[in-house]
C-alpha cells in the first residue's frame, strides 16, 4: 500500500482493530497462563527471578545473624552449610542469569522494533522450566534437604553418598534443568538480535544493549554446556557409582573444578555485561547525547567475552597446578581489566561531554560503578597468584565477589528498574523513595562488605558457621551484620516503592526523553509490540529521524496490518538488516508449559531414584516436543508472499541459512557440541594426569578397534544419506529423498548397538575404574545422539509423506541436515578417541 493510504484514519483504525484482535492475550483462570507474548512472559520471568532474589537474600540475613557474634548458635553447622550453598546457587542460577534473560525478553523486541522474539513459545517453555526447577531447588531447604556443598559442589565430599544427602542430587538435577532453559533463552536471544532487527538497522546502528545481549548469549552457549557435561558425570558417579572424581579408581576431583570453572568464570561476565548494557542505554539518555565511542563498547563486550574463557584456573590457584599454568591464567586475568575499564571510561566520557540530568536511575548507575570499581581492584589483587594463596577461601574473597556482583549486577538492575519501570507500567517510580533507597543500599553494601576485607585478611575462613572470640574479628562481623540489615532495608524501600506504583498516575510517553526505539512504547500499552516496523537510519531514531514517532504510530512504516489474522514479524539479514521474510509467530499455547512440566518430571523423579516414572516423563517429553514441532513449526503458508508496505513484498516461508529455524538448530547444536567437548576433555584429562591411561591389566580391555569403526561407518552413511536426501529433494526427487531418509533412519538405529558393542563385548566394567566409565559415557552420549538422529530423520520422512514438506517448503530436511553434520562430528571424535587412541598411546 502507498503512503497515501495510511492518511485515512478509518483504515488505520481497521488495522489497529485487526492487530488488537490478533495479539489479544488469552483469558480465563488457566488459559491466561498459556500466553506466549514477550510482554507477559517477560514480566512473569522478572517477577519470579525477583522473588528468588528476595528469598536468597533472606537466607543471607540468617547467615549474618548467625555470624553477628562469636560462638553464636542461632543455626547449627549443617543448616549454615545449606544456607550459604543455597544463597550462592540461587543468586547465580535463579536470579542473576534468569534476570538478564527475563529483562531481555521484555526489552529486546522493543529495542529491535519487532512484534515479538522469533520463538515466543520457546521463551514460555524457558520460563516454565525455570519456575519448576527454581521452586524445586529453593523449596528443598524447608525439608532440611537443601544442597550443602557450596555453590560449586566440589567432590569428593559431594559425590560420596555416605557423606552428602539428597541435596547434592537436587542441586545437580534441579539446576541442570534450569541450564536447559538458559540455553533455550540464549538461542532465542541470539536469533532475535541477528535476524529480527528492523529494516535498516545495520550492525553499526544496533542499540548497544543488543550488542551486549548477543555477546552474552553466545557466552552462555560456550559456558553452560561444560557444566551440563560435568553435571552428567557427577550424577553418574552419585547414582551409578562410576568413579569420575574418585582418585582411588583413577578419577580426579580436579576435573570437576575445571568443568565447573570453565562455566563459573564466564558466568561472572554473563551476569555483569547485561547490567552494564543497561548503563549503555540510560547514560546517553541522561547525558542527552549519543554514547561516546560506540566501537569501543563493542570492543569491550567482545574482548571481555573472549578473555573471560581464559580465566577459569584463577579459581584453582591453590590446587597445586604447575606455576606456569597459573601464570597463563593470571596474565589473562590482568588483561581482562583492559576491556572492562574501556567501557567505564566510555561512560564517563559520555557524561563529561553531555548535559547531565541527575535522575534516580543515573544515581544508581554512578553509585554501582563506584562499588564495582572497588571489587574490580581487589580482583586485580587476587588475580596475582601469590596474593591469592594468602586470601584464598577467606572473607577477603567474599568481600571481593560481593563488591563485584552488587556493583556489577544488583545495583545496575535497580537502576534499570527505575529507568524501565515507565516502559513496562506507564508510571514512574518515586524519585524520593528511590534516592533514599539508593543511599541506604550504598551505605549498607559498604558497611557489610568492606569490613570483610579486613576480617578475611585477619584469618576468617569462608563457609564456617562460627568463629572464636580470640580471633578478634567480632566487631568487624557485627558491623557486617548491621550493614546487611541496612542493605535489606534499602531493598525493602524499593519493594515499597513498587507496591505503591498501582496508585500513581500514568506518566507521559517517553518520560526521560530518550532516543532509542524501546521508548516508542505507549503508557496505555497495546499487546502488539509496535504499531508498524520502522525503517532505521540512526542509532537514536527518536532524536534524529524526522517525525519518527508519528510515522510509527500512524502505521506508515512496514507491516502495519494483520490481514490474515496471524501474529507476524519481519526477519532481516544478519549484517545489513535487509528484510527477507515475514515470519509467522507462534500463538498462545499450553504445549510449552506442558513440555516444561514433562521435562521437569524427568529431572525431579530421577532425583528420588524413581527411574521408571522418569522414563514415562521422558517419553511424554518426546511426544510433546514432536507434537509441538509438527503443529507449530515450518507451516506451509496459504500464499507464497505478502506485501509489507512501500511496495515491498516478502516471502512467508524461507528455509536454509537465512531462516530463523535453521539458525536456532545451528546454535542449539553448537551448545550440544560444547557439552560433548567437555566429556572429551575428561577423557584426555585422565590421560594427562594418570601415568598409565588406558590402564593395563585384567579387566581393563578397551573397546577394540572394530566396533567403533563399524559404528562410525554407519553414522557416516546415515549422514551421507541425509545430505543426499536434502539435495535430491531440493531438485524435486521426492521419492528418492524419502528412500534416502528411510535408509538414514535404519543406519542411525544400527549405529546404536554398534556403538555400544565395543565396550559391551569387551566386558568393560564402569564401576571398576574411570577408564571404562569414560569410554561408556562417550559411547552412550554418541548413540543417544544417533537415536535422536533417527527420530529427526523419521520426522522429516513423515513430514514429506504427510505433505507438510515439499521441495519448495523444505525447512525440515535442511534443519535435520544441520543436526546430522554435528552428529557426524560427534561420532568421528568419539569413535576415533575410544577406538584408536588406546592403540596410539
Amino acid at each position: 500500500m502507498s503512503l497515501h493510504a495510511q492518511d485515512d484514519p478509518a483504515l488505520r483504525e481497521a488495522q489497529e482493530d485487526r492487530l488488537r484482535a490478533v495479539w489479544k492475550p488469552p483469558e480465563g483462570l488457566f488459559l491466561r497462563w498459556t500466553d506466549t507474548n514477550n510482554n507477559r512472559v517477560g514480566v512473569w520471568y522478572v517477577l519470579t527471578a525477583f522473588g528468588f532474589m528476595l528469598f536468597a537474600g533472606v537466607l543471607a540475613l540468617i547467615m549474618r545473624a548467625q555470624l553477628a557474634a562469636p560462638g553464636n548458635d542461632l543455626v547449627n553447622a549443617s543448616t549454615f552449610n545449606q544456607l550459604f550453598t543455597l544463597h550462592g546457587s540461587m543468586m547465580m542460577f535463579l536470579f542473576a542469569v534468569p534476570m538478564f534473560e527475563a529483562v531481555s525478553i521484555i526489552l529486546l523486541p522493543q529495542l529491535l522494533g519487532a512484534r515479538d522474539l522469533p520463538f515466543p513459545r520457546l521463551s514460555a517453555f524457558g520460563y516454565w522450566s525455570f519456575l519448576i526447577g527454581g521452586v524445586f531447588v529453593a523449596g528443598s531447604i524447608f525439608f532440611d534437604a537443601a544442597p550443602d556443598g557450596g555453590w560449586f559442589m566440589y567432590p569428593p565430599f559431594t559425590t560420596r553418598t555416605d557423606l552428602s544427602g539428597l541435596g547434592a542430587d537436587i542441586w545437580m538435577l534441579g539446576l541442570s534443568f534450569i541450564e536447559v532453559s538458559s540455553v533455550a533463552a540464549a538461542v532465542e536471544l541470539i536469533v532475535g538480535v541477528l535476524k529480527c532487527r528492523p529494516p535498516g538497522m545495520r550492525l553499526n546502528l544496533m542499540p548497544l544493549y543488543a550488542w551486549y545481549i548477543l555477546v552474552v548469549a553466545v557466552m552462555i552457549l560456550f559456558a553452560f554446556p561444560p557444566l551440563i557435561a560435568g553435571d552428567l558425570l557427577f550424577e553418574m558417579e552419585r547414582l551409578l557409582g562410576w568413579p569420575f572424581f574418585d582418585a582411588a579408581k583413577g578419577g580426579d576431583p580436579i576435573l570437576w573444578q575445571h568443568l565447573f570453572w570453565i562455566f563459573g568464570h564466564p558466568e561472572v561476565y554473563i551476569v555483569f555485561l547485561p547490567s552494564i548494557a543497561l548503563f549503555a542505554m540510560l547514560i546517553p539518555t541522561f547525558a542527552q547525547r549519543p554514547l561516546v565511542g560506540y566501537p569501543w563498547i563493542v570492543l569491550a563486550a567482545v574482548g571481555t567475552a573472549f578473555l573471560s574463557f581464559g580465566l577459569w584456573v584463577h579459581h584453582m590457584f591453590a590446587t597445586g597446578l604447575p606455576k606456569i599454568s597459573l601464570a597463563f591464567f593470571s596474565a589473562a586475568s590482568e588483561a581482562v581489566a583492559i576491556p572492562t575499564a574501556v567501557q567505564i571510561f566510555a561512560f564517563i566520557a559520555t557524561l563529561w561531554a553531555g548535559r547531565v540530568v541527575w535522575s534516580t536511575p543515573l544515581l544508581y548507575a554512578v553509585g554501582s560503578v563506584a562499588i564495582f570499581v572497588i571489587g574490580g581492584l581487589t580482583g586485580v589483587m587476587v588475580a596475582i597468584a601469590p596474593f591469592d594463596w594468602q586470601a584464598h577461601d577467606t572473607y577477603f574473597i567474599v568481600a571481593h565477589l560481593h563488591y563485584v556482583l552488587i556493583g556489577g549486577t544488583l545495583l545496575p538492575l535497580f537502576g534499570g528498574l527505575y529507568y524501565y519501570w515507565p516502559l513496562i507500567t506507564g508510571k514512574k517510580l518515586s524519585d524520593r523513595i528511590g534516592r533514599t533507597a539508593f543511599w541506604v543500599l550504598f551505605a549498607g553494601a559498604n558497611l557489610t562488605f568492606f569490613p570483610m576485607h579486613l576480617s578475611g585478611l585477619m584469618g576468617m575462613p569462608r563457609r564456617v558457621f562460627t568463629y572464636p572470640a580470640e580471633l578478634g574479628i567480632g566487631n568487624l562481623n557485627l558491623a557486617s551484620t548491621v550493614g546487611s540489615y541496612l542493605f535489606a532495608f534499602g531493598v525493602l524501600l524499593v519493594c515499597v516503592d513498587l507496591a505503591l506504583s498501582p496508585r500513581r498516575a500514568k506518566s507521559p510517553r517517553n518520560p526521560w526523553n530518550a532516543g532509542t526505539l524501546e521508548w516508542l512504547a505507549h503508557p496505555d500499552d497495546e499487546d502488539w509490540g509496535i504499531r508498524s516496523v520502522p525503517l532505521i537510519e540512526s542509532r537514536y531514531p527518536i532524536w534524529e529521524q524526522k517525525d519518527f514517532v508519528q510515522k510509527v504510530d500512524e502505521g506508515r512504516f512496514f507491516l502495519p496490518d494483520a490481514e490474515e489474522g496471524r501474529r507476524e514479524t519481519i526477519v532481516t539479514s544478519v549484517i545489513d538488516a535487509r528484510p527477507v521474510q515475514v515470519l509467522r509467530l507462534g500463538a498462545p499455547s499450553a504445549v510449552p508449559m506442558m513440555t516444561a512440566i514433562a521435562l521437569g518430571s524427568v529431572f525431579i523423579l530421577t532425583t528420588y531414584h524413581l527411574y521408571t516414572l522418569a522414563l514415562v516423563g521422558a517419553a511424554a517429553t518426546l511426544a510433546l516436543v514432536l507434537y509441538w514441532l509438527w503443529t507449530g513449526t515450518a507451516e506451509i503458508p496459504e500464499k507464497e508472499e505478502k506485501p509489507i508496505g512501500h511496495g515491498m513484498v516478502m516471502p512467508l516461508y524461507i528455509s536454509g541459512g537465512s531462516a530463523t529455524g535453521w539458525w536456532a538448530m545451528f546454535i542449539t547444536m553448537l551448545a550440544d557440541a560444547t557439552a560433548f567437548s567437555g566429556l572429551v576433555f575428561g577423557y584426555y584429562f585422565f590421560w594427562t594426569v594418570r601415568p598409565e591411561f588406558p590402564p593395563t591389566g585384567p579387566g581393563f580391555d578397551g573397546p577394540g578397534v572394530l566396533w567403533p569403526m563399524v559404528a562410525l561407518a554407519l553414522t557416516a552413511a546415515s549422514w551421507g544419506a541425509t545430505v543426499a536426501a536434502r539435495e535430491t529433494h531440493a531438485r524435486g526427487g521426492v521419492g528418492t529423498a524419502r528412500i534416502l531418509l528411510a535408509f538414514g533412519v535404519v543406519a542411525s538405529l544400527a549405529a546404536i548397538p554398534a556403538g555400544l558393542a565395543g565396550p559391551w563385548l569387551s566386558g568393560m566394567a564402569p564401576k571398576l575404574h574411570v577408564y571404562p566409565a569414560i569410554v561408556w559415557t562417550l559411547a552412550i552420549w554418541t548413540v543417544a545422539h544417533s537415536g535422536v538422529g533417527a527420530i529427526a530423520q523419521g520426522y522429516a520422512l513423515a513430514r514429506s509423506i504427510a505433505g507438510r514438506m515439499t521441495p519448495r517448503y523444505d525447512a525440515d530436511v535442511r534443519n535435520v541436515t544441520v543436526f546430522m553434520h554435528f552428529m557426524l562430528f560427534t561420532a568421528v571424535v568419539t569413535y576415533l578417541t575410544i577406538g584408536l587412541f588406546p592403540e596410539a598411546s
Binding site: 574463557f309 597463563f328 591464567f329 588483561a335
Partner: protein, 126 residues
C-alpha cells in the same frame, strides 16, 4: 602500487566472522600454551624452554593479529564523507566493523604478549 593495495584491502568482505579473528587467534594461542605445559609437566615433569613450536606459534599469532589489524586499519580509513561515521550506509557499517576489529586486534596483541610472558620468566613445573 601502494594505493592499489590499500584499495584492494578495502574491497575485502567484512563480516561478524572477520571481527572475531583476532580474539580467536588469542584463544587458540592461549589454549595451545596451556595444553603444552599441562601435558608436558604431567608427562615429563618439565618443559623445554622456547621450543620451536612455541616460538613460531607466538610469532605466528602476533603476525596474524597484526595483519588483521592492518587490514582493519585500512578499511576503517576508507575515504569519503566526514565524521562522525555513524550512519546507516554501507561505508559506515564497514568502517564500524573495521574499527572494532582494529581495537580487538590491539587487545588480542597485548593478550598474546601477556600469555607468552610467563614462558619467558618461568623455567620449571613447580
Amino acid at each position: 602500487m601502494k594505493r592499489g593495495l590499500g584499495h584492494r584491502v578495502r574491497e575485502l568482505r567484512v563480516t561478524l566472522w572477520t571481527l572475531i579473528v583476532p580474539p580467536s587467534v588469542w584463544a587458540a594461542h592461549f589454549l595451545f600454551c596451556y595444553l603444552w605445559v599441562a601435558v608436558s609437566c604431567a608427562k615429563t615433569g618439565g618443559f623445554e624452554r622456547f621450543p620451536i613450536a612455541f616460538v613460531i606459534g607466538t610469532l605466528g599469532a602476533l603476525a596474524i593479529i597484526a595483519a588483521s589489524g592492518a587490514i582493519a586499519w585500512a578499511q576503517a580509513k576508507t575515504p569519503g564523507d566526514p565524521p562522525p561515521h555513524d550512519e546507516g550506509t554501507d561505508i559506515d557499517r564497514t568502517r564500524f566493523l573495521a574499527k572494532s576489529t582494529l581495537l580487538l586486534a590491539a587487545l588480542s596483541f597485548v593478550g598474546v604478549l601477556f600469555t607468552a610472558a610467563p614462558a619467558l620468566m618461568l623455567t620449571d613445573c613447580r
